[in-house]
Protein backbone atom coordinates (compact mmCIF):
# COMPACT_ATOMS: atom_id res chain seq x y z
CA UNK A 1 0.00 0.00 0.00
CA UNK A 2 1.82 3.11 -1.21
CA UNK A 3 0.41 6.32 0.12
CA UNK A 4 1.05 9.96 -0.74
CA UNK A 5 0.19 12.49 1.96
CA UNK A 6 -0.19 16.21 1.28
CA UNK A 7 1.06 18.39 4.13
CA UNK A 8 1.02 22.16 4.36
CA UNK A 9 3.29 24.30 6.47
CA UNK A 10 0.63 26.79 7.50
CA UNK A 11 0.09 29.83 9.68
CA UNK A 12 -1.59 29.04 12.97
CA UNK A 13 -4.85 31.06 12.82
CA UNK A 14 -4.47 31.77 16.52
CA UNK A 15 -1.15 33.55 16.04
CA UNK A 16 -0.98 37.32 15.60
CA UNK A 17 -2.35 37.93 12.13
CA UNK A 18 -2.14 41.44 10.68
CA UNK A 19 -2.65 42.84 7.21
CA UNK A 20 0.65 44.07 5.71
CA UNK A 21 0.97 47.74 4.61
CA UNK A 22 0.41 46.77 0.94
CA UNK A 23 -3.12 45.69 1.91
CA UNK A 24 -2.71 42.50 -0.12
CA UNK A 25 -0.69 40.26 2.11
CA UNK A 26 -0.13 39.24 5.73
CA UNK A 27 2.48 40.80 8.01
CA UNK A 28 5.17 38.12 8.55
CA UNK A 29 5.97 39.39 12.04
CA UNK A 30 4.09 37.57 14.78
CA UNK A 31 3.13 34.61 12.60
CA UNK A 32 3.54 31.13 14.00
CA UNK A 33 3.75 28.27 11.50
CA UNK A 34 3.18 24.59 12.01
CA UNK A 35 1.89 21.58 10.14
CA UNK A 36 -1.70 22.31 9.08
CA UNK A 37 -3.91 20.79 11.75
CA UNK A 38 -5.94 18.63 9.33
CA UNK A 39 -2.72 17.31 7.77
CA UNK A 40 -1.56 15.96 11.14
CA UNK A 41 -4.52 13.62 10.97
CA UNK A 42 -3.73 12.78 7.33
CA UNK A 43 -0.14 11.78 8.04
CA UNK A 44 -1.17 9.82 11.13
CA UNK A 45 -3.78 7.91 9.14
CA UNK A 46 -1.22 7.09 6.43
CA UNK A 47 1.34 5.84 8.95
CA UNK A 48 -1.30 3.66 10.62
CA UNK A 49 -2.23 2.09 7.28
CA UNK A 50 1.43 1.44 6.57
CA UNK A 51 1.92 -0.13 9.98
CA UNK A 52 -0.97 -2.50 9.34
CA UNK A 53 -0.55 -3.21 5.64
CA UNK A 54 3.07 -2.37 4.77
CA UNK A 55 4.15 -0.14 1.91
CA UNK A 56 5.55 3.34 1.73
CA UNK A 57 4.40 6.80 2.87
CA UNK A 58 5.59 9.76 0.81
CA UNK A 59 4.78 13.24 2.10
CA UNK A 60 4.50 16.20 -0.28
CA UNK A 61 4.77 19.89 0.62
CA UNK A 62 4.43 23.02 -1.51
CA UNK A 63 6.44 26.18 -0.87
CA UNK A 64 8.59 26.49 2.24
CA UNK A 65 7.61 23.33 4.05
CA UNK A 66 10.86 21.83 5.40
CA UNK A 67 9.84 21.90 9.09
CA UNK A 68 6.51 20.26 8.38
CA UNK A 69 8.03 17.64 6.07
CA UNK A 70 10.71 16.83 8.70
CA UNK A 71 7.98 16.49 11.29
CA UNK A 72 6.09 14.02 9.06
CA UNK A 73 9.30 12.06 8.48
CA UNK A 74 9.87 11.98 12.24
CA UNK A 75 6.32 10.71 12.74
CA UNK A 76 7.04 7.84 10.38
CA UNK A 77 6.81 8.90 6.72
CA UNK A 78 9.49 7.29 4.54
CA UNK A 79 10.47 10.17 2.28
CA UNK A 80 9.45 13.69 1.41
CA UNK A 81 9.01 15.78 -1.72
CA UNK A 82 9.18 19.55 -1.57
CA UNK A 83 7.89 21.67 -4.44
CA UNK A 84 9.55 25.08 -4.13
CA UNK A 85 6.95 27.40 -5.65
CA UNK A 86 4.89 30.27 -4.30
CA UNK A 87 1.30 29.48 -5.23
CA UNK A 88 0.09 32.91 -4.05
CA UNK A 89 -3.08 31.83 -2.31
CA UNK A 90 -4.29 30.06 -5.49
CA UNK A 91 -5.25 26.43 -4.78
CA UNK A 92 -5.41 25.64 -8.50
CA UNK A 93 -1.68 26.35 -8.83
CA UNK A 94 -0.90 24.24 -5.76
CA UNK A 95 -2.93 21.27 -6.99
CA UNK A 96 -1.42 21.45 -10.49
CA UNK A 97 2.10 21.63 -9.04
CA UNK A 98 1.46 18.54 -6.93
CA UNK A 99 0.04 16.70 -9.92
CA UNK A 100 3.22 17.39 -11.92
CA UNK A 101 5.57 16.59 -9.06
CA UNK A 102 4.07 13.17 -8.31
CA UNK A 103 3.74 12.11 -11.95
CA UNK A 104 6.42 9.41 -11.58
CA UNK A 105 5.14 8.09 -8.24
CA UNK A 106 3.29 4.80 -7.92
CA UNK A 107 0.56 5.10 -5.34
CA UNK A 108 -2.62 3.37 -4.21
CA UNK A 109 -3.98 6.18 -2.09
CA UNK A 110 -3.54 9.92 -1.62
CA UNK A 111 -4.54 11.40 1.74
CA UNK A 112 -4.95 15.13 2.29
CA UNK A 113 -6.44 17.19 5.11
CA UNK A 114 -9.97 18.48 4.58
CA UNK A 115 -8.78 22.09 4.40
CA UNK A 116 -5.90 24.36 5.34
CA UNK A 117 -6.09 26.27 8.58
CA UNK A 118 -4.94 29.51 6.91
CA UNK A 119 -6.93 30.02 3.70
CA UNK A 120 -9.70 27.48 4.35
CA UNK A 121 -10.47 26.73 0.69
CA UNK A 122 -10.94 22.97 1.20
CA UNK A 123 -9.95 22.47 -2.45
CA UNK A 124 -6.52 20.91 -2.92
CA UNK A 125 -7.57 17.29 -2.41
CA UNK A 126 -10.60 17.28 -4.66
CA UNK A 127 -8.92 19.44 -7.32
CA UNK A 128 -5.98 17.04 -7.42
CA UNK A 129 -8.29 14.00 -7.57
CA UNK A 130 -10.15 15.55 -10.48
CA UNK A 131 -6.92 16.48 -12.30
CA UNK A 132 -5.69 12.90 -11.88
CA UNK A 133 -9.14 11.46 -12.61
CA UNK A 134 -9.22 9.51 -9.35
CA UNK A 135 -12.30 8.53 -7.36
CA UNK A 136 -12.37 10.58 -4.17
CA UNK A 137 -14.21 11.33 -0.96
CA UNK A 138 -13.84 14.36 1.30
CA UNK A 139 -14.28 14.94 5.04
CA UNK A 140 -13.61 11.30 5.90
CA UNK A 141 -14.11 10.43 9.58
CA UNK A 142 -13.28 6.73 9.41
CA UNK A 143 -11.88 4.33 6.85
CA UNK A 144 -11.25 0.65 6.29
CA UNK A 145 -9.18 -0.99 3.57
CA UNK A 146 -10.74 -3.88 1.70
CA UNK A 147 -9.47 -5.87 -1.25
CA UNK A 148 -8.57 -3.21 -3.83
CA UNK A 149 -11.07 -0.85 -2.24
CA UNK A 150 -11.45 1.58 0.59
CA UNK A 151 -14.61 1.92 2.67
CA UNK A 152 -15.08 5.38 4.16
CA UNK A 153 -17.54 7.31 6.26
CA UNK A 154 -17.65 10.98 5.36
CA UNK A 155 -19.09 13.79 7.40
CA UNK A 156 -22.25 15.61 6.36
CA UNK A 157 -23.94 18.45 8.22
CA UNK A 158 -25.98 18.08 11.40
CA UNK A 159 -24.24 14.99 12.75
CA UNK A 160 -25.11 12.87 9.70
CA UNK A 161 -22.60 10.68 7.92
CA UNK A 162 -22.43 8.85 4.60
CA UNK A 163 -20.77 5.51 3.91
CA UNK A 164 -19.12 4.94 0.55
CA UNK A 165 -16.82 2.39 -1.05
CA UNK A 166 -14.14 3.60 -3.46
CA UNK A 167 -12.02 1.62 -5.89
CA UNK A 168 -8.28 2.13 -5.47
CA UNK A 169 -6.27 4.10 -6.45
CA UNK A 170 -8.26 6.87 -4.84
CA UNK A 171 -7.92 10.13 -2.95
CA UNK A 172 -9.49 11.02 0.36
CA UNK A 173 -9.42 14.12 2.51
CA UNK A 174 -9.72 13.57 6.25
CA UNK A 175 -11.68 15.48 8.86
CA UNK A 176 -9.97 16.32 12.13
CA UNK A 177 -10.63 13.82 14.91
CA UNK A 178 -10.36 10.76 12.62
CA UNK A 179 -7.50 9.53 14.84
CA UNK A 180 -5.23 10.72 17.61
CA UNK A 181 -2.02 11.93 15.96
CA UNK A 182 1.15 10.67 17.64
CA UNK A 183 3.78 12.91 19.10
CA UNK A 184 7.18 13.12 17.48
CA UNK A 185 9.71 11.05 19.42
CA UNK A 186 13.42 11.77 19.81
CA UNK A 187 14.14 8.52 18.00
CA UNK A 188 11.83 9.61 15.24
CA UNK A 189 13.67 12.89 14.83
CA UNK A 190 17.00 11.05 14.65
CA UNK A 191 15.71 8.63 12.06
CA UNK A 192 14.18 11.46 10.05
CA UNK A 193 17.60 13.05 9.50
CA UNK A 194 18.60 10.11 7.32
CA UNK A 195 15.42 10.10 5.28
CA UNK A 196 15.20 11.61 1.80
CA UNK A 197 13.79 15.11 1.32
CA UNK A 198 13.85 15.75 -2.40
CA UNK A 199 13.09 19.03 -4.16
CA UNK A 200 11.15 18.81 -7.38
CA UNK A 201 10.79 21.97 -9.43
CA UNK A 202 7.76 22.35 -11.63
CA UNK A 203 6.52 25.12 -13.87
CA UNK A 204 2.76 25.37 -13.81
CA UNK A 205 2.34 28.91 -15.09
CA UNK A 206 -0.17 31.39 -13.77
CA UNK A 207 -3.21 30.72 -11.66
CA UNK A 208 -6.76 31.95 -11.84
CA UNK A 209 -6.97 34.37 -8.99
CA UNK A 210 -5.24 37.52 -7.82
CA UNK A 211 -5.62 39.09 -4.40
CA UNK A 212 -7.19 42.54 -4.58
CA UNK A 213 -7.17 43.33 -0.90
CA UNK A 214 -7.13 41.78 2.56
CA UNK A 215 -8.91 43.49 5.41
CA UNK A 216 -10.44 43.07 8.86
CA UNK A 217 -14.14 42.14 9.02
CA UNK A 218 -16.13 45.30 9.76
CA UNK A 219 -18.40 44.11 12.57
CA UNK A 220 -17.37 43.91 16.18
CA UNK A 221 -20.66 43.34 17.88
CA UNK A 222 -19.77 42.34 21.45
CA UNK A 223 -19.80 44.86 24.27
CA UNK A 224 -16.50 44.19 25.97
CA UNK A 225 -16.57 43.76 29.75
CA UNK A 226 -13.36 45.11 31.25
CA UNK A 227 -11.76 45.01 34.68
CA UNK A 228 -10.14 42.42 36.93
CA UNK A 229 -11.72 38.95 37.24
CA UNK A 230 -13.75 40.09 40.31
CA UNK A 231 -15.33 42.96 38.39
CA UNK A 232 -15.87 40.87 35.28
CA UNK A 233 -17.59 38.10 37.26
CA UNK A 234 -19.81 40.62 39.05
CA UNK A 235 -20.82 42.18 35.75
CA UNK A 236 -21.61 38.79 34.21
CA UNK A 237 -23.77 37.89 37.23
CA UNK A 238 -25.57 41.22 36.92
CA UNK A 239 -26.33 40.55 33.26
CA UNK A 240 -27.67 37.08 34.11
CA UNK A 241 -29.80 38.50 36.94
CA UNK A 242 -31.22 41.22 34.69
CA UNK A 243 -32.25 38.53 32.24
CA UNK A 244 -33.78 36.36 34.94
CA UNK A 245 -31.30 33.60 34.24
CA UNK A 246 -30.28 33.28 37.91
Amino acid sequence: MNIIVLAKHAVDPESEIRVAPDGKSIEEKGLVYDINDWDRYAIEEAIRIKENHGGEVVVVGVGYSDDTLRKCLAMGADRAIKIPIDSKMDPYVTALAIKEAISSENFDLIIAGLMSQDYNYALIGSLLASMLDLPYATAVTSLKLEDGKIRVIRELEGGYGEENVLTLPALITVQSGINEPRYVSIMGIKRARKKELKEISVDVGEGWIEVDKIYTPPVRKAEIITGDPEKVAEKIIQILKDRGLI
Partner: protein, 319 residues
Amino acid sequence: MMRVFAIAEIKENTLDESSFELLNLANCIKGDGTCEAVVIGKDVSEFAKELAKGADKVWKIEDDALENYNPELYTDVLLQLFSKEKPDIVLLPNTSRGLEMAPKLAVELNAPIVTDIVNLDVSNGVKATRYIFQGKLLVDVFVKKSETYVFTVRQGVFKEGMELSGEIINAGVKPKITPRREFVRIIEPEVGEVDITQADIIVSVGRGIEDESNIELAEELTKLLGGVVAGSRPVIDSGWLPKDRQVGISGKTVKPKLYLALGISGAFQHVMGMKDSELIIAVNKDPEAPIFGVAHYGVVGDLFDIVPVLIEKLKKIKG
Protein backbone atom coordinates in the same frame (compact mmCIF):
# COMPACT_ATOMS: atom_id res chain seq x y z
CA MET B 1 -26.73 37.89 -21.27
CA MET B 2 -25.49 36.13 -18.19
CA ARG B 3 -26.79 32.72 -17.16
CA VAL B 4 -26.27 31.88 -13.50
CA PHE B 5 -26.84 28.22 -12.54
CA ALA B 6 -27.56 27.22 -8.94
CA ILE B 7 -27.16 23.55 -8.03
CA ALA B 8 -29.79 22.69 -5.40
CA GLU B 9 -29.01 20.34 -2.55
CA ILE B 10 -31.41 17.70 -1.26
CA LYS B 11 -30.84 16.37 2.23
CA GLU B 12 -32.95 13.88 4.15
CA ASN B 13 -35.50 14.15 1.36
CA THR B 14 -35.96 17.90 1.78
CA LEU B 15 -34.63 20.81 -0.19
CA ASP B 16 -31.77 22.31 1.82
CA GLU B 17 -32.14 25.97 2.79
CA SER B 18 -28.83 26.68 1.03
CA SER B 19 -30.52 26.02 -2.33
CA PHE B 20 -32.68 29.12 -1.95
CA GLU B 21 -29.70 31.18 -0.83
CA LEU B 22 -27.96 30.26 -4.08
CA LEU B 23 -31.00 31.48 -6.01
CA ASN B 24 -30.95 34.73 -4.01
CA LEU B 25 -27.34 35.36 -4.97
CA ALA B 26 -28.00 34.34 -8.57
CA ASN B 27 -30.92 36.78 -8.81
CA CYS B 28 -28.74 39.54 -7.37
CA ILE B 29 -26.01 39.20 -9.97
CA LYS B 30 -27.84 38.00 -13.10
CA GLY B 31 -28.59 41.52 -14.44
CA ASP B 32 -30.72 41.05 -17.56
CA GLY B 33 -29.74 37.38 -17.60
CA THR B 34 -31.29 34.35 -15.95
CA CYS B 35 -31.19 32.53 -12.64
CA GLU B 36 -31.47 28.81 -13.37
CA ALA B 37 -31.77 26.10 -10.73
CA VAL B 38 -30.69 22.51 -11.27
CA VAL B 39 -32.10 19.71 -9.15
CA ILE B 40 -30.90 16.11 -9.31
CA GLY B 41 -32.44 12.92 -7.92
CA LYS B 42 -34.79 10.02 -8.55
CA ASP B 43 -38.03 11.98 -8.36
CA VAL B 44 -37.56 15.70 -7.88
CA SER B 45 -40.81 17.15 -9.23
CA GLU B 46 -41.87 18.59 -5.86
CA PHE B 47 -38.46 20.17 -5.29
CA ALA B 48 -38.48 21.63 -8.79
CA LYS B 49 -41.82 23.33 -8.05
CA GLU B 50 -40.43 24.90 -4.88
CA LEU B 51 -37.32 26.10 -6.67
CA ALA B 52 -39.38 27.57 -9.52
CA LYS B 53 -40.70 30.17 -7.06
CA GLY B 54 -37.24 31.75 -6.95
CA ALA B 55 -35.78 30.98 -10.38
CA ASP B 56 -36.32 31.87 -14.03
CA LYS B 57 -35.81 28.25 -15.04
CA VAL B 58 -35.49 24.96 -13.23
CA TRP B 59 -33.62 22.07 -14.83
CA LYS B 60 -34.80 18.71 -13.60
CA ILE B 61 -32.40 15.76 -13.86
CA GLU B 62 -34.06 12.49 -12.87
CA ASP B 63 -32.84 8.91 -12.97
CA ASP B 64 -33.00 5.85 -10.71
CA ALA B 65 -29.21 5.86 -10.51
CA LEU B 66 -29.36 9.40 -9.08
CA GLU B 67 -31.45 8.45 -6.06
CA ASN B 68 -28.49 8.85 -3.72
CA TYR B 69 -25.82 11.51 -3.99
CA ASN B 70 -22.73 10.37 -5.86
CA PRO B 71 -20.19 13.02 -6.92
CA GLU B 72 -19.15 11.13 -10.04
CA LEU B 73 -22.69 10.57 -11.34
CA TYR B 74 -23.95 13.99 -10.28
CA THR B 75 -21.06 15.86 -11.93
CA ASP B 76 -21.42 13.67 -15.02
CA VAL B 77 -25.03 14.75 -15.59
CA LEU B 78 -24.27 18.36 -14.69
CA LEU B 79 -21.44 18.48 -17.23
CA GLN B 80 -23.74 17.04 -19.92
CA LEU B 81 -26.26 19.78 -19.16
CA PHE B 82 -23.59 22.48 -19.11
CA SER B 83 -22.18 21.41 -22.47
CA LYS B 84 -25.58 22.19 -23.99
CA GLU B 85 -26.66 25.15 -21.90
CA LYS B 86 -23.34 26.97 -21.34
CA PRO B 87 -23.69 28.61 -17.94
CA ASP B 88 -21.55 31.67 -17.22
CA ILE B 89 -21.55 31.14 -13.47
CA VAL B 90 -22.19 27.93 -11.53
CA LEU B 91 -23.07 28.20 -7.83
CA LEU B 92 -23.02 25.36 -5.32
CA PRO B 93 -23.60 25.46 -1.57
CA ASN B 94 -20.45 25.36 0.56
CA THR B 95 -21.66 22.13 2.11
CA SER B 96 -19.93 18.78 2.43
CA ARG B 97 -21.43 17.72 -0.90
CA GLY B 98 -21.24 21.06 -2.67
CA LEU B 99 -17.57 21.30 -1.82
CA GLU B 100 -17.02 17.83 -3.15
CA MET B 101 -18.62 18.39 -6.56
CA ALA B 102 -17.51 21.96 -7.26
CA PRO B 103 -13.77 21.29 -7.81
CA LYS B 104 -14.56 18.39 -10.15
CA LEU B 105 -16.82 20.67 -12.22
CA ALA B 106 -14.13 23.36 -12.27
CA VAL B 107 -11.43 20.98 -13.51
CA GLU B 108 -13.69 19.47 -16.18
CA LEU B 109 -14.89 22.89 -17.37
CA ASN B 110 -11.37 24.31 -17.14
CA ALA B 111 -12.91 27.02 -15.01
CA PRO B 112 -11.65 28.98 -12.02
CA ILE B 113 -13.12 28.12 -8.63
CA VAL B 114 -13.43 30.07 -5.39
CA THR B 115 -15.02 28.44 -2.35
CA ASP B 116 -16.96 29.67 0.65
CA ILE B 117 -17.73 33.09 -0.84
CA VAL B 118 -19.76 35.69 1.05
CA ASN B 119 -19.98 38.21 -1.79
CA LEU B 120 -19.72 38.18 -5.57
CA ASP B 121 -19.30 41.31 -7.67
CA VAL B 122 -19.68 40.94 -11.43
CA SER B 123 -19.99 44.63 -12.30
CA ASN B 124 -16.42 45.04 -13.46
CA GLY B 125 -14.76 41.70 -14.04
CA VAL B 126 -15.41 39.06 -11.41
CA LYS B 127 -14.49 39.67 -7.80
CA ALA B 128 -15.27 37.30 -4.92
CA THR B 129 -15.05 37.90 -1.19
CA ARG B 130 -14.31 35.24 1.40
CA TYR B 131 -13.00 34.80 4.92
CA ILE B 132 -9.51 33.50 5.67
CA PHE B 133 -7.80 32.41 8.90
CA GLN B 134 -11.06 30.93 10.20
CA GLY B 135 -12.90 34.23 10.11
CA LYS B 136 -10.18 36.63 11.24
CA LEU B 137 -9.74 38.43 7.93
CA LEU B 138 -11.59 38.97 4.68
CA VAL B 139 -10.04 38.82 1.23
CA ASP B 140 -11.30 40.14 -2.11
CA VAL B 141 -9.93 38.18 -5.05
CA PHE B 142 -10.10 39.02 -8.73
CA VAL B 143 -10.89 36.02 -10.87
CA LYS B 144 -9.39 35.99 -14.34
CA LYS B 145 -11.66 36.09 -17.33
CA SER B 146 -13.14 32.73 -18.20
CA GLU B 147 -16.08 31.29 -20.09
CA THR B 148 -17.41 29.73 -16.89
CA TYR B 149 -16.81 30.36 -13.20
CA VAL B 150 -17.54 28.01 -10.30
CA PHE B 151 -18.24 29.19 -6.76
CA THR B 152 -19.37 27.61 -3.52
CA VAL B 153 -21.43 29.94 -1.37
CA ARG B 154 -21.33 30.21 2.42
CA GLN B 155 -24.62 29.28 4.10
CA GLY B 156 -26.70 31.87 5.91
CA VAL B 157 -25.45 34.90 3.96
CA PHE B 158 -27.88 35.50 1.10
CA LYS B 159 -31.24 35.65 2.85
CA GLU B 160 -33.15 38.13 0.66
CA GLY B 161 -35.10 36.46 -2.09
CA MET B 162 -37.02 37.39 -5.21
CA GLU B 163 -40.41 35.97 -6.14
CA LEU B 164 -40.49 34.43 -9.57
CA SER B 165 -42.37 31.64 -11.25
CA GLY B 166 -39.87 29.88 -13.41
CA GLU B 167 -40.42 27.27 -16.03
CA ILE B 168 -39.55 23.65 -15.16
CA ILE B 169 -37.64 21.85 -17.87
CA ASN B 170 -36.66 18.22 -18.08
CA ALA B 171 -32.93 18.36 -18.81
CA GLY B 172 -33.06 15.06 -20.68
CA VAL B 173 -29.65 13.85 -19.53
CA LYS B 174 -28.80 10.48 -18.02
CA PRO B 175 -25.65 9.27 -16.25
CA LYS B 176 -23.26 7.80 -18.78
CA ILE B 177 -20.37 6.67 -16.65
CA THR B 178 -19.75 3.76 -14.29
CA PRO B 179 -18.83 5.33 -10.96
CA ARG B 180 -15.81 4.12 -9.03
CA ARG B 181 -17.40 5.29 -5.81
CA GLU B 182 -20.43 3.45 -4.52
CA PHE B 183 -22.97 4.83 -2.07
CA VAL B 184 -23.66 2.45 0.81
CA ARG B 185 -25.83 4.19 3.40
CA ILE B 186 -26.63 7.32 5.37
CA ILE B 187 -25.59 7.28 9.01
CA GLU B 188 -27.98 8.96 11.45
CA PRO B 189 -26.67 11.34 14.13
CA GLU B 190 -25.66 9.75 17.43
CA VAL B 191 -28.21 10.11 20.19
CA GLY B 192 -26.76 10.78 23.65
CA GLU B 193 -28.19 11.10 27.17
CA VAL B 194 -28.56 14.84 26.90
CA ASP B 195 -30.20 16.73 24.06
CA ILE B 196 -28.34 20.05 24.06
CA THR B 197 -30.83 21.56 21.61
CA GLN B 198 -33.42 21.51 24.42
CA ALA B 199 -31.26 23.28 27.03
CA ASP B 200 -31.94 26.85 28.18
CA ILE B 201 -28.40 27.38 29.35
CA ILE B 202 -25.32 26.07 27.61
CA VAL B 203 -21.74 26.41 28.81
CA SER B 204 -19.64 25.64 25.79
CA VAL B 205 -15.91 25.00 25.79
CA GLY B 206 -13.34 25.23 23.01
CA ARG B 207 -9.65 24.73 22.45
CA GLY B 208 -8.97 27.26 25.24
CA ILE B 209 -10.02 24.69 27.85
CA GLU B 210 -6.59 23.15 27.11
CA ASP B 211 -7.01 19.79 28.82
CA GLU B 212 -9.61 17.13 29.49
CA SER B 213 -9.19 17.60 33.25
CA ASN B 214 -10.42 21.19 32.91
CA ILE B 215 -13.83 20.10 31.63
CA GLU B 216 -14.69 19.74 35.33
CA LEU B 217 -14.47 23.49 35.71
CA ALA B 218 -17.10 23.98 33.02
CA GLU B 219 -19.24 21.26 34.61
CA GLU B 220 -19.12 22.95 37.99
CA LEU B 221 -20.21 26.25 36.47
CA THR B 222 -22.91 24.48 34.49
CA LYS B 223 -24.32 22.87 37.64
CA LEU B 224 -24.60 26.24 39.36
CA LEU B 225 -26.29 27.79 36.33
CA GLY B 226 -28.53 24.80 35.70
CA GLY B 227 -27.48 24.06 32.16
CA VAL B 228 -25.55 21.58 30.04
CA VAL B 229 -21.95 21.46 28.83
CA ALA B 230 -21.30 21.52 25.10
CA GLY B 231 -18.20 22.07 23.00
CA SER B 232 -16.65 23.11 19.69
CA ARG B 233 -14.95 20.73 17.31
CA PRO B 234 -11.44 20.57 18.85
CA VAL B 235 -12.92 19.42 22.18
CA ILE B 236 -15.04 16.74 20.50
CA ASP B 237 -12.09 15.66 18.28
CA SER B 238 -9.98 15.17 21.40
CA GLY B 239 -12.68 12.96 22.87
CA TRP B 240 -13.17 15.21 25.92
CA LEU B 241 -16.91 15.46 25.23
CA PRO B 242 -19.14 13.07 23.25
CA LYS B 243 -20.09 13.85 19.65
CA ASP B 244 -23.71 14.68 20.55
CA ARG B 245 -22.42 17.68 22.53
CA GLN B 246 -20.87 19.30 19.45
CA VAL B 247 -22.24 22.70 18.46
CA GLY B 248 -21.74 23.74 14.84
CA ILE B 249 -22.53 22.89 11.22
CA SER B 250 -21.40 19.28 11.58
CA GLY B 251 -22.97 18.98 15.04
CA LYS B 252 -26.04 20.57 16.59
CA THR B 253 -27.70 23.93 16.09
CA VAL B 254 -28.73 25.46 19.43
CA LYS B 255 -30.73 28.54 20.46
CA PRO B 256 -30.54 28.65 24.28
CA LYS B 257 -31.38 31.62 26.50
CA LEU B 258 -27.71 31.78 27.48
CA TYR B 259 -24.71 30.57 25.54
CA LEU B 260 -21.52 31.00 27.50
CA ALA B 261 -18.57 30.41 25.17
CA LEU B 262 -15.35 29.64 27.00
CA GLY B 263 -12.12 29.57 25.01
CA ILE B 264 -13.95 29.26 21.69
CA SER B 265 -12.39 31.20 18.81
CA GLY B 266 -15.61 31.25 16.82
CA ALA B 267 -14.79 29.63 13.48
CA PHE B 268 -17.75 29.91 11.10
CA GLN B 269 -18.48 26.19 11.40
CA HIS B 270 -19.12 26.73 15.10
CA VAL B 271 -20.88 30.10 14.88
CA MET B 272 -23.51 28.72 12.50
CA GLY B 273 -24.61 26.39 15.28
CA MET B 274 -25.09 29.01 18.02
CA LYS B 275 -25.46 32.50 16.53
CA ASP B 276 -29.20 32.65 17.18
CA SER B 277 -28.85 32.14 20.95
CA GLU B 278 -30.74 34.79 22.94
CA LEU B 279 -27.69 35.86 24.95
CA ILE B 280 -24.11 35.06 24.05
CA ILE B 281 -21.26 35.80 26.43
CA ALA B 282 -17.76 34.90 25.24
CA VAL B 283 -14.52 34.63 27.16
CA ASN B 284 -11.38 34.43 25.01
CA LYS B 285 -7.74 35.46 25.37
CA ASP B 286 -7.50 36.64 21.77
CA PRO B 287 -9.09 40.08 21.26
CA GLU B 288 -9.30 39.33 17.52
CA ALA B 289 -11.22 36.08 18.01
CA PRO B 290 -14.20 36.02 15.60
CA ILE B 291 -16.47 34.89 18.47
CA PHE B 292 -16.59 38.55 19.58
CA GLY B 293 -18.26 39.33 16.27
CA VAL B 294 -21.29 37.26 17.24
CA ALA B 295 -21.32 37.57 21.07
CA HIS B 296 -23.41 40.19 22.87
CA TYR B 297 -20.87 40.50 25.66
CA GLY B 298 -17.20 39.67 25.51
CA VAL B 299 -14.43 39.22 28.00
CA VAL B 300 -10.90 39.43 26.64
CA GLY B 301 -9.07 37.30 29.15
CA ASP B 302 -8.09 33.89 30.39
CA LEU B 303 -11.06 31.69 31.22
CA PHE B 304 -8.98 30.18 34.05
CA ASP B 305 -8.88 33.61 35.74
CA ILE B 306 -12.55 34.40 35.24
CA VAL B 307 -14.42 31.11 35.67
CA PRO B 308 -13.21 30.21 39.22
CA VAL B 309 -14.24 33.67 40.48
CA LEU B 310 -17.58 33.33 38.74
CA ILE B 311 -18.08 29.94 40.40
CA GLU B 312 -17.27 31.35 43.86
CA LYS B 313 -19.70 34.22 43.42
CA LEU B 314 -22.49 31.96 42.17
CA LYS B 315 -21.94 29.63 45.13
CA LYS B 316 -22.42 32.57 47.51
CA ILE B 317 -25.62 33.63 45.76
CA LYS B 318 -26.99 30.09 45.82
CA GLY B 319 -26.00 29.82 49.52
